[in-house]
Amino acid sequence: MTSVTTMGASIASGMYDLALAGGVEHMGHHPIGSNWEANPRFVSEKLVEPGALNMGVTAERIHDRFPHLTKERADRYGMLSQHKVQAAYDAGKIQPDLVPVAVSDAAGAWGLATEDEGRPPTTTLEGLANLKTPFRPHGRVTAGTSSPLTDGATMSLLAGADAVQELGLQPKMRMVSFAFAGVQPEIMGIGPIPSTEKALRKAGLTIDDIGLFELNEAFAIQVLSLLDHFGIADDDPRVNPWGGAIAVGHPLAASGVRLMIQLAGHFRKRPDVRYGLTAMCVGLGQGGSVIWENPHYDGTKK
C-alpha cells in the first residue's frame, strides 16, 4: 500500500508520469510470533510492551477494548470470508487478475500455482469454535480468525492524468486521497479507524459516501472494530465482497495492491458506486487508508 501512496503522491507532484507499484512477500520468512527483528530499545526502554511485537497478542487487545465484539462474531466473520472467497472463485471473479506461478514442493517437484492455495472453503462455526487460541490462554483469536502465512506478489501501474490521456490508458480507479495515522502499538489493529477518518476528511467525504470496502483481514476482530466504529454491520455486502486475507493470507508487502485490484474488479461491475476504500493496519501502531473513485460511475445512484 505504501508503494502505491508514495508513487501516487510522486506522480501528483509531477515527479513521474508512470510508475509500477507493488510488493512481494515470502511469509515463510516471518514465522508466527517472531516476525520482528525488533530494535532492542523498544523493550529495554519500555517504549512498547513486549506483546506489541506479536500481532496476535495485539488482536486480543482489541477484544479487550471492545467486549461486545465477541469471539463468536469474529468466528462468524472468519467463516464468511472463507465462503465468500470460494464463491468468488466459483464465479470466476478472481482468476482474471492472477498470473500462474511455478512452485516446487518439499521434494522439489514442480507444479503450477493457479489460485490462492491452502483455503478451507468448507469452514463451519462448529469447527472454528474448537480451535486453539495460541496468543492467550482462553483467548479469542484463533487460526480461523487470523490471516494464514502465505507467499504472494502483486503489481499495479499508476499513471498521471496527462500520461493517461497521452497513452490512451483505461484507468480502473482514480486515487482520491490517502492517509496514515498512528495508534498505540499494543493495539495496532485499530489503526485503520483514524486513518480512514483522516482520508475521508482530506477527500471532503463522509463514510456514507463509500460504496465499497476492501479491508485487510489481518484479523477478523480488526475489521470488526472498524465496521463497529462506523456503524456498519459485520456482514454488510459492501465489505470485502470476494472475501479477504483470512482466506487468502496476508503476504505483507503484497496485500495492499491485492485490495486495490479487487476493488477495481468491483468498480467495473458497479457503475452505481462512486467511491471505495482500501485500508489496512500496520504492525507497531499505524493504519493506512486510500480512497478511490470509480471511473465507471454513471451517476445513477450514489
Binding site: V99, P100, V101, A102, S104, D105, A107, G108, A109, W110, G111, L112, T114
Partner: protein, 693 residues
C-alpha cells in the same frame, strides 16, 4: 538417485498436464544422472501415466528437472561397472525402452529443458513429442563421441530425423571432437533441437502456456528438418561422407566412436525407429566394452578431477599475493604472456626488452590484441581501457622493483637466463617470485647464481599460450613452499591446469615429444620415405603426425630440443646435426590444404641427402620403436620421480600435447599394445585399463 516426481498441472484450456520433475535430492552442484534404478522408476511412472491418459484423466505429460539441471546423462560410474557385453547392451536397451516410452503415452509429451541437458538428458527431450528450452540453461549437448561412445538412447536416430543430417552431424560428431563444444540454448533453438525457447524468469509458466497452445492447436509447431524429404536420398549420404573426410583429417582413423556415430547417422535416413534403436543398442554395447571407452573414462576422470586438484601443490594459503607481474622479454612469447596475465589477473604487467623500439612493438602487439578482444565483444570498452592501462613497457629495469612475480621468456640459453635473473634479483624485493618458462633447460642451473634460489620455479607454458590448458610447474631442490604455492595459485588464476614436475630434462611433455620427433627423424635418416614415417605413427592416434609437429614447433627449436635431450640421455634419444642444416631453410616440408605433410621441399631433399642412409625401416618397426621407447621412457621418469604417478604423465600429455582420450594419454595405450610388457615386463596399471570385449 534421481527420482521422478509427478504433479498435475491445470492448463488454461482446462486440460491437465502431468508434470514429471527429475530430482536427485541434492543441490545443483550434483546434477541429476540416469542410472538403471532411475530408469526403472521412471518407467513405472510412465506406465502409470499411460493408464491415466487412457482413462482421460490427463491430456499431456511434461518432463523437466530440478533447478538448473534437466539431467547430465547416463550415470557413467554405472556404465564402467558393466561386465559382459550383454549387460552393456541391456543398458542401451533399457534407455531405449524407458525414454522411448515418452513417445508412446497415448498423449503428447513435452520436455521442458530447464537447465543442463547432456547425453541421455537431451535424449529425454528428443524422445518427447515437443521440446522447449530455458534461454539461460547451461550447456545442451550430446557429448558421447568425446567419451568414446555414441548417443545410444535414441539420439543418433532421432536427432538427424528432427533437425536434418548436416546439423545432426555437427551436434553429434563435430562438436564433441572440437574439445567437446556444447550448445547454448539459443543455438539449440536455431538448430531446431528445441521447438521454443523462453527466458528464465517465467520459463516453466511460459512453457506450460505454450504447451497448452500446442494442445489446442492455437500454436503450430513448424519443423524445417522433418519436412524436406526430396533431397534426402542424395544429400544425406553426401553430408555423411563430407563429415567422414573431416573426421579423418581431424583425428585420423584410429578412434572408433566418431565412425560408429557416422554410420548410425547415415543409416538413420531410412527404416523405422525400432530398427534405429536396435542399431544403437549394438553399437553402444560394442563401444562400452571396448578398450577406447575404458581409456576415455580414465582420461575423463584425470581432466575432471586430478587436473583440478594438482598432486603436490602446497597449501594455497602460503601463496604470495601477486599485485604486479613483470615479464622479461618483449618478443611474441612474452607478449602472449602479458596478454594472458593482464586479462586474467587484472594487475599491472610490465614488459621489457633491449631497446625502446622492441618494447614499443611488444606493447603495440598487446594493445592490438585487446582491440581485437573488444571487437569480438569479449571485453567492454571500459575493461579494454583498464587492460591497456595495466600493460606498460620499459627499458629501465628499475621499474621491476615492486613486481611480486617475474617470469622470463628470453632466449633459451642458460647463460642468458642466468644473467637476466642476476640483474632482476638486484632490483626486486627479496621475496618476489622468479619464474622461468624454459622448455628444456635445468631450472636449478638457471638459478645457480641467485642469492635466493628458493624463490625460483619453472613455469612452462605450451603453445599457443592462450589455448593450451597446461602449465608444468617445475620444482628445483631449492624451491620453497611459498614459491611453489604462488606458482599454483597464479596458474589457476590464469585459467590453466598445473602439474608439478621435478627438474628433469624436458620435464614431462617435451621429453616424450622429443621421443616422438627423434624416432621420426631417426627413421628418415635411416632412409625411410617421409610418408612411410608419417603413416607409421597413425595408430597412436595423435593430434598431428611427427613432421607436422616438428614443423609447428619450428625446426630450430626441434633441433635444439633433440640436442638437449640427447646430451642428457645419449643412449635413448636421437638427434642429427643435419637437422640444424634443415632448420636454416625457409621451408622444409610441403603441406596440402589440410595441413598434412606431403613431401620434403626440393631444397630440403638436397640438404638432407648426404645424411640419409640406406637402411629404411618398416612402418611396423617404427611404430614398435616408438611404443617401446615411450613405455621405457615413462617408466624411467616414474623411477626418477619426475612426477609421482603415471596419471600425471597422462594428464600432461592430454592437456599439454592434445594426446587422445582413447589412448588415456599414453599409458593405457602402451599397456594394451604390449609395449609396457616388452619394455619392462610389467604394465603401468594393475589391472591394465582394458575393455571387456
Amino acid at each position: 538417485m534421481t527420482r521422478s516426481h509427478v504433479r498435475d498441472v491445470p492448463l488454461p484450456s482446462g486440460r491437465t498436464l502431468a508434470l514429471i520433475t527429475l530430482h536427485n535430492g541434492r543441490d545443483h552442484t550434483r546434477p541429476n544422472t540416469l542410472g538403471p534404478a532411475t530408469l526403472l522408476a521412471l518407467d513405472e511412472v510412465l506406465a502409470g501415466l499411460r493408464e491415466r491418459a487412457a482413462a482421460g484423466e490427463i491430456q499431456a505429460v511434461g518432463i523437466t528437472g530440478k533447478p538448473y539441471v534437466l539431467a547430465a546423462g547416463a550415470d557413467l560410474t554405472d556404465i564402467t561397472r558393466v561386465r559382459p557385453r550383454n549387460e552393456a547392451r541391456l543398458i542401451a536397451q533399457l534407455g531405449h525402452k524407458v525414454l522411448g516410452g515418452l513417445s508412446e503415452l497415448g498423449v503428447p509429451s513435452f520436455a521442458f529443458v530447464n537447465g543442463l541437458a547432456l547425453g541421455g538428458g537431451l535424449e529425454i527431450a528428443l524422445n518427447s513429442t515437443y521440446r522447449t528450452a530455458n534461454a539461460s540453461a547451461a550447456e545442451i549437448a550430446l557429448p558421447e563421441v568425446y567419451l568414446g561412445l555414441i548417443p545410444g538412447w535414441g539420439g543418433a536416430f532421432l536427432l538427424p530425423n528432427l533437425i536434418g543430417i548436416e546439423k545432426a552431424l555437427e551436434v553429434i560428431v563435430s562438436n564433441p571432437l572440437r574439445q567437446n563444444r556444447m550448445l547454448q540454448p539459443g543455438q539449440a533453438f536455431d538448430l531446431g533441437v528445441v521447438d521454443a525457447i523462453f527466458p528464465a524468469v517465467n520459463y516453466l509458466e511460459d512453457s506450460l502456456r505454450w504447451a497448452d497452445g500446442v494442445l489446442t492447436g492455437a500454436i503450430p509447431v513448424d519443423r524445417a528438418g522433418e519436412s524436406d524429404d526430396s533431397p534426402r536420398a542424395h544429400a544425406w549420404p553426401a553430408a555423411v561422407d563430407a563429415a567422414r573426410a573431416l573426421v579423418a583429417a581431424r583425428v585420423g582413423d584410429v578412434a572408433r566412436s566418431p565412425y560408429v556415430a557416422l554410420e548410425l547417422l547415415e543409416r538413420a535416413r531410412g527404416g523405422t525407429r525400432a530398427e534405429g534403436f536396435a542399431r544403437e543398442d549394438e553399437a553402444l554395447a560394442d563401444l562400452i566394452v571396448g578398450d577406447q571407452f575404458a581409456a576415455s573414462m580414465y582420461a575423463f576422470d584425470l581432466v575432471q578431477k586430478r587436473a583440478k586438484r594438482p598432486v603436490g601443490a602446497p597449501d594455497k594459503a602460503l601463496a604470495k599475493k601477486v599485485g604486479k607481474v613483470g615479464i622479461i622479454g618483449a618478443g611474441l612469447m612474452a607478449s602472449q604472456f602479458a596478454l594472458l596475465f593482464v586479462r586474467r589477473l587484472r594487475v599491472p604487467v610490465l614488459i621489457t626488452d633491449l631497446d625502446q623500439a622492441r618494447v614499443d612493438k611488444g606493447v603495440a602487439y598487446i594493445h592490438d590484441e585487446i582491440v581485437t578482444l573488444e571487437a569480438k565483444g569479449r571485453v567492454d570498452a571500459d575493461t579494454a581501457n583498464q587492460l591497456r592501462a595495466l600493460v606498460t613497457g620499459t627499458t629501465d629495469k628499475s621499474a621491476y622493483a615492486d613486481c611480486d612475480f617475474v617470469i622470463e621468456a628470453v632466449f633459451e640459453e642458460v647463460g642468458v637466463k642466468q644473467q637476466v635473473f642476476a640483474e632482476i634479483e638486484a632490483i626486486v624485493a627479496d621475496d618476489a617470485i622468479l619464474a622461468t618458462n624454459t622448455s628444456s633447460l635445468s631450472v636449478e642451473e638457471i638459478g645457480a647464481k641467485l642469492t635466493h634460489p628458493q624463490r625460483l620455479v619453472g613455469f612452462h607454458f605450451f603453445n599457443p599460450v592462450a589455448v593450451m590448458p597446461l602449465i608444468e610447474i617445475v620444482r628445483t631442490p631449492a624451491t620453497d613452499e611459498q614459491t611453489l604455492s604462488t606458482a599454483f595459485v597464479v596458474a589457476k588464476a590464469l585459467g590453466k591446469n598445473a602439474v608439478l614436475t621435478a627438474d628433469a630434462p624436458g620435464f614431462v611433455v617435451n621429453r616424450l615429444l622429443a621421443k616422438i620427433m627423434g624416432e621420426a627423424a631417426r627413421a628418415v635418416y635411416e632412409g625411410t620415405p617421409l610418408l612411410t614415417v608419417e603413416r607409421a605413427f597413425a595408430p597412436l592416434g595423435l593430434p598431428m603426425t611427427p613432421f607436422q609437429l616438428i614443423d609447428l614447433v619450428g625446426w630450430k627449436v626441434a633441433a635444439h630440443v633433440q640436442d638437449t635431450m640427447t646430451s642428457a640421455f645419449p643412449e635413448r634419444f636421437y638427434t642429427n646435426a643435419n637437422l640444424h642444416a634443415l632448420a636454416e631453410l625457409p621451408q622444409v616440408v610441403e603441406k596440402d590444404d589440410r595441413g598434412r605433410v606431403v613431401a620434403f621441399t626440393p631444397a630440403a631433399e638436397d640438404v638432407a641427402r648426404p645424411a640419409v642412409g640406406r637402411t629404411p625401416a618398416t612402418e611396423e618397426e617404427i611404430l614398435r620403436r616408438v611404443q617401446d621407447g615411450l613405455a621405457s621412457e615413462i617408466k624411467l621418469m616414474l623411477d626418477e620421480g619426475v612426477v609421482p604417478e603415471v596419471e600425471d604423465i597422462d594428464l600432461c600429455l592430454i592437456l599439454g600435447a592434445g594426446w587422445p582420450f582413447i589412448d588415456g594419454g599414453a599409458s593405457p595405450y602402451l599397456d594394451r599394445e604390449g609395449a609396457s610388457a616388452r619394455a619392462f615386463d610389467d604394465t603401468f596399471h594393475h589391472p591394465p585399463i582394458r575393455g571387456i570385449g
